[in-house]
């Protein structure tokens, strides 16, 4: 049990940069993440890349505090992930939409967060879904569902926004629509941590790239350095379209 005296300073203390030190995660008897040490800076957009099963989604969940590492330490400013979860939002690889109307999906979040309900239409308009307000959320197309999930995440006014392949299986126009919304948030100071397989997207969005390979960080470089000249064999193979196993 933490005392109030310990909790209060973290309430609005900065949560960035985030540091991971020797983080490992063991699931079902095997290590799915191992020896992950990273520092992600205060602003901008970090892309997390790597082949299927490399551990990207699990890393995202762990940084957000949904799963605890088996060993190692994750610190947001001085705080543990679970203490600052409310200041972050995560858009899952498969969007989880409530069995309600599009508008009610946003209303729900605004209500539980005690935020102004009047923002709803502006949020829906921002992601181009205002005209679908009354439609059941589960009848949205894949791209629309992703945009609704994104709007809902933004409704919580997060300081950090985790996105797990937000544009997988979307058409080019929808990809750009999502990227525009994310860039918008970013320019308002939201820290973006993005998992993507889309090289073009990573080039357009990322300031730095974390490349995961078999649960380990193969490299962490600036985007300018990473794309023309990756340092690790795994990243080189990945960028060249070779299957990395």
């Amino acid at each position: 049990m933490k005392s109030d005296a310990e909790d209060t300073p973290t309430a609005d203390a900065p949560i960035l940069p985030v540091t991971l030190q020797g983080v490992a995660l063991r699931l079902g008897g095997a290590f799915v993440l191992e020896d992950v040490s990273l520092e992600l800076g205060q602003t901008g957009c970090t892309a997390i890349m790597g082949s299927n099963g490399a551990g990207k989604s699990l890393l995202l969940r762990m940084m957000h505090g949904l799963i605890a590492p088996t060993s190692g330490d994750i610190r947001w400013g001085g705080a543990a992930p679970s203490e600052v979860m409310a200041r972050q939002a995560l858009v899952f690889q498969k969007p989880v939409l409530l069995r309600r109307s599009v508008a009610a999906n946003i209303d729900f979040v605004l209500k539980v967060r005690g935020q102004d309900r009047a923002q709803r239409d502006a949020l829906l308009d921002h992601v181009g879904l205002l005209h679908k307000s009354a439609q059941p959320a589960r009848l949205l197309s894949g791209g629309e569902a992703q945009r609704l999930a994104l709007a809902r995440a933004l409704a919580t006014e997060p300081e950090v926004l985790f996105l797990d392949e937000p544009t997988a299986s979307l058409d080019p126009a929808s990809v750009l629509a999502i990227e525009r919304i994310v860039s918008d948030a970013r320019s308002r100071g939201v820290r973006i941590i993005l998992v993507t397989h889309d090289l073009g997207q990573a080039r357009r969005m990322a300031d730095d790239v974390v490349f995961l390979h078999k649960g380990r960080v193969a490299e962490h470089s600036t985007a300018q350095a990473f794309f023309p000249d990756p340092q690790s064999d795994a990243a080189r193979d990945y960028l060249n379209g070779r299957l990395v196993v």
Binding site: R61, H64, L66, M85, A86, A89, L90, F92, V96, L98, R99, R100, F108, V109, V112, R113, P136, R138, L139, T156
Partner: protein, 235 residues
């Protein structure tokens, strides 16, 4: 003893004429079983929800108990309620034995476990899908339960209908605690049992027809709830 054909003719005439005795029995049946269903839902839904999202020691034992209670034999429930409410029983001073209230109590005990067990399953399945999203949103437990109950509304409605269907068709418990007293505690099932044994097949058949129609109505309601849910891509 009438022939079946005669009895059927009389039964249909009874139903169509809106016979006041018949009507009284049907209305009491509906009142008792609907009240029991509402109370059973008020008890069973929160229990189902708490067990669905709770992770506590002895949870498996609770699950086994809930599933076992689902199959409670109505006569045993009737007997237990009788023992509690009879004059020498612990609640005998209430004077509830052989009243509609006693019947409501018995049916509530009979179907609350059904509501709890079925809603537990429904809510747990939904929670499996929502849990991470809800944790990410930092919902309180109460907010989680409320959201799950609301989002499971169509399935829970069919759970309630299943409970009502079981209550209204049940005879063993209400006959013991109600006593099938004319104009007081006589409901459809107990009247059918009595009139059949007396040989008045017309009234028994008339009530049987109505009971069947109610059962069909409940099924139709379940079906239409499912179709509404599907139309809204609820599933």
């Amino acid at each position: 003893m009438q022939s079946i054909g005669e009895a059927l003719g009389l039964a249909i005439a009874l139903v169509l004429s809106g016979d006041p005795d018949l009507l009284e029995i049907v209305l009491l049946s509906l009142r008792v079983s609907l009240t029991a269903t509402v109370i059973a839902c008020m008890i069973g839904l929160p229990i189902g929800a708490l067990v669905a999202i709770g992770r506590f020691r002895g949870r498996n034992a609770v699950l086994i108990l809930m599933n076992a209670l689902m199959g409670l034999p109505p006569v045993v429930v009737g007997l237990l309620v009788y023992l509690y409410l009879s004059r020498s029983g612990p609640l005998g001073f209430l004077g509830l034995l052989y009243t509609p209230t006693a019947m409501i109590i018995a049916q509530t005990i009979l179907i609350a476990p059904i509501v709890a067990a079925l809603s537990r399953q429904v809510i747990e399945d939904l929670h499996a899908e929502y849990a991470e999203q809800f944790r990410s949103l930092c919902l309180t437990r109460l907010q989680t339960v409320q959201a799950l109950l609301w989002d499971a509304r169509y399935s829970l409605l069919t759970v309630g209908l299943a409970g009502f269907g079981r209550a209204v068709a049940e005879v063993g418990a209400v006959i013991i605690v109600g006593g099938n007293i004319d104009h007081l505690t006589r409901v459809m099932t107990t009247a059918i049992a009595l009139e059949t044994s007396k040989g008045d097949l017309a009234l028994a058949l008339a009530l049987g027809i109505i009971l069947l129609v109610i059962a069909l109505g409940v099924n139709a309601a379940v079906q239409s709830v499912r179709m509404t849910a599907a139309r809204q891509a609820y599933v």
